[in-house]
Symmetry: C2
Subunit: 557 residues, 2 copies
């Protein structure tokens, strides 16, 4: 039967009830009371409408939330909801429960639909599970600054035909502006007349550019936060930061909206988002890929890199991307010696990250595990890297920063303020220290492959707080600067999991060993049995708790 309810400001929904029966007492009223609480942004009442159980479910485009409390945490963090009216309700009887499908009309247009399983065994009507579809957006501004269909068409044929590329907003694309993650910078940026060679080489190989993806401002962060456009989601760990600064390309690839992310890695900006989101990420040998048409941060350390979901795609894009390496830069070295680890570097990682990576390395390296090398401690590496990187960053952008007070994100602003304070004397001393440390590392590693966690931990929660985030950041940078200081390539491979999400296994090889690292990682992946398209979904409600407690990746079909 069909009824029309007058629900006041909530609309006049038609109510369709399966099988000609009447609606049970209070059910439609409960649905409408829930909508009223939603309209009033009354979070306590909304929470009260969900069964207080660890099995209560909520599903939307961002994934699955499990448990009443996880749903409440999410609800508290999502911000204001758009007003909507209810157009139609459809009720299906299921034992003592009712499945209610409600079609709504948000004030900004389009159509939303919510499916809820309601139960009254507690004496009042409560939701056991809710599946929400909101109207689709033109694009996700947190991930993309510009998107096309495609934005730039690649060559008809080539080794990358069929691939789709998300380009970090540092790279010039003819006809587009470079925004470096800042609306203020974008507003004054000229239209580019030429496409950066690092992008053009992929187009020439048949890949299409889908669009320009977001970046931390000036690429001067590894968190992935961006107040101008919003923080890109981390589909591997709901509620966690995406990692940066190549945050947009990483999220685009993890979400399946592009197959290749093109980014830059100065201090970890490819490896960290790859680690946090369960992707493959390669920082290339310094100087091997052209930085022409790429906004600089610290040229001494800046490199181009790629993000992919699987190793085969990484192998293909790296082969293309490295094919233009200039004379004098080693490339195509296809042999590496032995695998080594360095406890003094790993020491700054969390136990969970270190153990997860260690378990993978133990599993794949026979004969007593990896060799051990003596490296400088990561605190020394971080300090030398920070001083010299900062001096270059200020030279790259200090004038702009001084001319635009208040334009930057707080963390990036603080970093530039620190950079401005680096005196020439201090930079000189830093460069001497860099030389000493790089020589030490090169001497210790030679042609070995150093294995370490790509980041100090799994992806931190968005709401972790600055102090703890800074501790993790400095620990991560201490580890990533082994490659930075020496210009060595570094590959993050999604082979390790902690309770809190994936951690990349990072392989640092001799300069020019980029492709050899990928081949080695593909061998390792075959050994540990993770499929190229292994699911990376970590359904979670923001508590950090996980039902399983695995330190090695689960075997998958």
């Amino acid at each position: 039967m069909v009824d029309v309810y007058d629900a006041g400001a909530l609309g006049r929904p038609e109510v369709h009830i399966e099988g000609g029966v009447r609606a049970p007492a209070g059910l439609v009223e409960a649905v409408l009371a829930y909508e009223s609480a939603r309209a009033a942004d009354d979070l306590a009442t909304l929470s009260d409408f969900f069964v207080p159980s660890a099995d209560t479910l909520r599903i939307d485009a961002d994934g699955l939330l499990v448990g009443h409390d996880a749903i409440a945490v999410f609800r508290g963090s999502r911000g204001a909801m758009e007003p909507r009216t209810i157009v139609q309700l459809r009720l299906l009887l299921a034992g003592e429960d009712w499945l209610v499908v409600s079609v709504n009309a948000p004030v900004s247009g389009g159509c939303g639909i919510v499916t809820q399983l309601w139960n009254s065994s507690s004496g009042r009507w409560l939701v056991r599970a809710s599946h929400v579809t909101a109207p689709s957006r033109a694009t996700d501004s947190r991930v993309w600054r510009v998107v096309g269909s495609p934005l730039v068409l690649g060559a008809t044929h080539g080794p990358l035909a069929g691939h789709t590329v998300a380009v970090k907003d540092l790279f010039a694309i003819a006809g587009q502006r470079v925004g470096v993650g800042s609306r203020a910078y974008l507003a004054e940026a000229p239209v580019e007349v030429a496409t950066a060679p690092a992008v053009q080489i992929l187009l020439d190989a048949g890949a299409d550019v889908v669009g320009i993806a977001q970046s931390d401002q000036f690429a001067y962060s590894i968190a992935g936060l961006n107040p101008d456009y919003g923080t890109p989601p981390n589909p591997a760990v709901r509620g966690a930061i995406p990692g940066g600064s190549s945050s947009g390309p990483a999220s685009a690839v993890a979400l399946g909206q592009a197959s290749i992310g093109v980014g830059s890695d100065t201090a970890g900006s490819i490896r960290v988002p790859a680690s946090y989101q369960g992707l493959w990420g390669l920082r290339t040998t310094h100087g091997a890929v052209s930085l022409e048409g790429v906004a600089p941060l610290a040229p001494r350390y800046d490199t181009v890199g790629w993000l992919t979901r699987d190793g085969g795609t990484m192998r293909d894009v790296a082969a293309v991307g490295l094919s233009g390496a200039p004379d004098g830069v080693p490339s195509g070295i296809v042999t590496t010696r032995r695998v080594v680890a360095s406890p003094v570097i790993d020491a700054v990682a969390t136990d969970a990250a270190r153990e997860a990576v260690s378990a993978v390395v133990t599993a794949v390296v026979g004969d007593g595990g990896p060799g051990v090398v003596d490296l400088p401690n990561s605190r020394e590496l971080f300090e030398a890297f920070r001083v010299t990187q900062s001096a270059e960053a200020w030279r790259s952008h200090g004038a702009w920063v001084e001319a635009h007070p208040g334009a930057l994100a707080p963390d990036v602003e603080a970093r530039f303020a620190w950079a401005q304070a680096v005196t020439p004397d201090r930079e000189r001393a830093g460069l001497e220290e860099v030389s000493r440390l790089a020589a030490w590392i090169d001497d210790a590693l030679g042609d070995d492959v150093l294995v370490l966690p790509s980041a100090a931990s799994a992806a931190p929660r968005v709401n972790l707080g600055h102090e703890r985030l800074d501790v993790l950041r400095e620990a991560t940078l201490g580890m990533t600067s082994v490659a930075g200081l020496t210009g060595r390539p570094a590959l993050s491979v999604p082979l390790a999991w902690t309770d809190a999400g994936p951690v990349g296994v990072c392989l640092v090889g001799p300069r020019g060993s980029d492709l050899a690292l990928i081949d080695l990682a593909l061998e390792w992946q075959a050994l540990v049995g993770v499929t190229p398209h292994s699911p990376r979904v970590v359904p979670d409600g923001g508590s950090g708790a996980r039902s399983s407690d695995r330190t090695t990746p689960p075997a998958r079909a």
Copy 2:
């Protein structure tokens, strides 16, 4: 309890069952058998898994499908599905039914989730309702060619601040190309150096341009089909064509992805998609809005127009857009005389469309209804319009068409072939006929407001077939050419509904009466009680049947 199933190529899902009970016999197997049938694209088996009932439901981002048969029709038309593995199943017991939430990992990345209500009362496990969330796309290429966050930022303040604009792919935007709905045309198009004044005036008034939205190729159609990018969805009538040629801006506005669509109307390209999608759509007085920087079709008839969800926004954008009307073009006439109708024009509309519009006019025009005017019949109007429009279309684009054989959509190609055959003599005769008909119409209408359906029917189904579509097309063009031949403004207002979806009430006024028509329509809307944000959702399974049979819009809160 938690189990891990080995489902072969479908993955190794963890199965979580609420409350520690065991999964009922055959349920998980049924879920996996359903997935196997999906992987094999076995539509018959998929259909068999849904309860054969008129109450069976399927929900996805495009809306609600009701009834087993409607779901089967949809399934048959959607094309191949992407492979996916199952990561996790969560089972909730609901009486004799089970709610099953399955998390999947599509091969192209991201995460999908399906919630299904399963029942075994028939002796085997069948689905009663299914709610599907697929991974989100970078953008919907059927709707958008380029999207930004935003693509162009408008002035900080102004009467249109907060509004978002979808610009039809005929208008120049500095830094972007004009693609006229054709990939082949786009490939050779230069980057524009200046933004079309019709777009710039909205930016200056504070609106942001979200992106460039799709068009029928060369704007030479009113259907909204586009083989290069796909046909934009019609969110008002699922499974129906969107109407064109301003199809992308119309769908973007209807979907809530922009608040204002900017398009062109030569022969109905604003009014028809407005009618089909339940939007407000204004074809402006010929010459009142600059066509500089807009790809021409037939300059004698080309106009700029707007699409909005509500009349208030239409009033605001029209006031801004018309403020630059050149001297000599009447604008701002705020009085109109009486409302008239013309049975000889309406005769080509379907009974349902004519009656729905007539009911609205009867309801709002007191004192015995509208006056009746004697106009040329719509067949004459269509023929005179077609000959003269085609001759101009060939002059605009014939050289390109001849140089690009095979590049066009079949319907547009056929139209250009017809246009090529219009001889100078035939065009001259057509122009004389146009003069005669326009004088007749102007004499008959004077300052009256002619009311007629905006299109000959509600939106036709996508699979209607060319013959029937052509009949409806010619009928619609016979009606739309009243405004085209005389340069009069015409406003389509979403006040009428048929069983098959909305039909616009079209008001054609004297030249310069654009704003007066909007004011009149706002009065009418207040009289018939349709809210500015009235839901436009017509859940439908492709059968065309509807549960209610209303010829006037339903009263809404």
